[in-house]
Assembly symmetry: C2
Homo-oligomer: 344 residues x 2
């Protein structure tokens, strides 16, 4: 291992902010050897509680995140925040505006905020988020908030890198329908209905509770089929219990008004309860193992693709030309590429 990264790893574990900042950049940019850094710090990770925060723009996500930082700081926790934006470059401006609200923590040495920009493909982004979480974990953050912009497959993929996923909604955004489309119900652990002083807050509460009820049923039918139904799937799959509690988790729905700091304490409580569920129940442990398995599979997928496309650059070009000339079909070409990779 490059002693440079070994040394950087040591400095991160010692809590050196500059080292952490440097490491966050390096893992995001995937500079040569960044893997050595991640390997070096891994033994110092595993203590942080990672919370994924998602929800539509307009739900007041950033203000809520800001309040959560405040609460955890009151409890003397060291807090890391990763803001992920997988959306198109055009939206950059709007998001920047949201972010600014968090800058009042910028001078607090125990609050570490970083943004990660969009990448070409989805997997790459959630992997970057995961790696950056590891750095913050080794850096000694007790709480790590991973906030995504908007709701979509990409964002949900990212929140699945967290222990607990918090979905923020607000009355009158018509979030409910979009939530259903985006598959939120299968991923959410805790719901926050923000801006609860607005008209329709109770309606939104009811809608979400209804969807939770529907979801746990629907998962019985679809759980097997759907890749991202694992969490709900855990509720229905037959799991051999090792004698521990086998309480299933039903996502609580918490009302809050983040601009006034109302309901934040309840929210923190709900998040803490979910952490306890993850750590003390068989279903919780099963869920953690499932997520870990997902990480290993995702990492394998990415490594396979990166290695293959690099190793086969020329062969791929040739294959494309042949398919273009219709002298071969894409399926035979692919099989040839696979063989070429395995014998490379």
């Amino acid at each position: 291992m490059s002693s440079a990264f070994e040394n950087l790893g040591k400095r991160i574990v010692l809590g050196e902010t500059r080292a952490a900042a440097r490491a966050m950049r390096d893992v995001d940019d995937r500079v040569p050897g960044y893997m050595d850094l991640l390997k070096a710090i891994f033994p110092s990770t595993g203590t942080a509680f990672v919370i994924g925060i998602t929800g539509n723009p307009g739900a007041g996500k950033s203000t809520l995140t800001d309040r959560l930082i405040e609460q955890y700081r009151r409890a003397q926790k060291k807090v890391g925040v990763i803001c992920v934006d997988p959306s198109s470059p055009y939206s950059g401006g709007a998001i920047l505006g949201d972010r600014i609200r968090m800058t009042r923590h910028a001078n607090d040495a125990n609050v570490f905020i970083r943004s990660v920009a969009t990448r070409g493909h989805l997997g790459g982004l959630s992997r970057s988020a995961r790696d950056m979480v590891r750095v913050l974990d080794a850096f000694g953050c007790d709480i790590i908030l991973v906030e995504t912009v908007g709701v979509g497959q990409d964002e949900l993929e990212i929140t699945r890198t967290a222990h607990t996923t918090l979905v923020v909604m607000a009355p009158g955004l018509g979030d409910e329908v979009q939530a259903i489309k985006a598959g939120i119900m299968e991923t959410a652990d805790v719901f926050a209905v923000n801006k609860a002083d607005r008209d329709g807050a109770d309606g939104t509460m009811r809608d979400i509770e209804l969807m939770i009820a529907l979801g746990s049923e629907s998962m019985v039918a679809t759980g097997k089929k759907k890749g991202h139904a694992v969490h709900a799937g855990v509720k229905v799959d037959a799991i051999p219990f090792a004698g521990g509690a086998d309480e299933p988790w039903t996502p609580p729905v918490i009302k809050c008004i983040s601009t006034q700091g109302e309901g934040i304490t309840d929210l923190v409580q709900a998040l803490a309860r979910h952490r306890i569920w993850l750590e003390t129940t068989d279903l919780g442990r099963a869920r953690r193992r499932t997520r870990l398995a997902e990480e290993v599979r995702e990492a394998l997928r990415e490594t396979l693709i990166d290695t293959a496309t690099q190793a086969l650059a020329a062969e791929i070009d040739r294959a494309v030309s042949e398919v273009e000339a219709r002298t071969t079909d894409p399926y035979t070409a692919t099989e040839r590429l696979l063989t070429a990779f395995k014998t490379a």
Copy 2:
């Protein structure tokens, strides 16, 4: 090759509807040997014009698709339609409602409509769509419409399997912002502003035209970075011209009222112009080659992942347990899995 599939392939090329229906199921289910079928029919493909149709629910996508089918049928074209729904199972009902509008073509032997349901992962769905398009192409469809539900990374991924991507919008849906987030501007070839008799239609037109203008600039900056900016990227990349026309493509924005059949002729014209652009200009040919390269790469990715996860099932389980026990880190585990795969 299994003579069963060879024979099925022959029957498809001869235009046997039952054979095509059977083949569509087989490729969607990826029954053992389905690759042989795709290889068998490939020489008989390449003549169809494939149009991807996307846009938010509420934009009147299905009604518009219905009108397009009508127009192409008037022109004596054989039409294939693939309806893709990558969204959560809960939305099933709503979509079914939309679909019903198309059933009046159900008795027309020259209109072939099939739906493809959601899969665990994204790539799998666009690959299924691509394979089903090949079947319809070999089946002799002149026009193949691939309609997706809603707008998102998944849907855009799918529309990229088409020659031409039509994005349907409507006034008062606030589509514009979502379009920006979803990255539509990088993928759209033709815009339809549907329900143009509604208030705000002109505003929507202007917004889209502005975004198109912004897009082509922004691509100069981001084109290199963004995986799905290729189309716009073509506008700015330096391409050695072989003497052909080098006219870049600027997406036209067509007003229509699909419920009354207004603007559909203009829309069909715009789609035809884009096809000509693809076939007669260097930029168009470059775009087609890029898409072909994407297909080969995607097929390679999928084959790699499928083969590896099958071959390494046991090793992956072991790796997960070791990472769980923290006797190894995910990164070392992944490297080991890669080696195991290449030496398998």
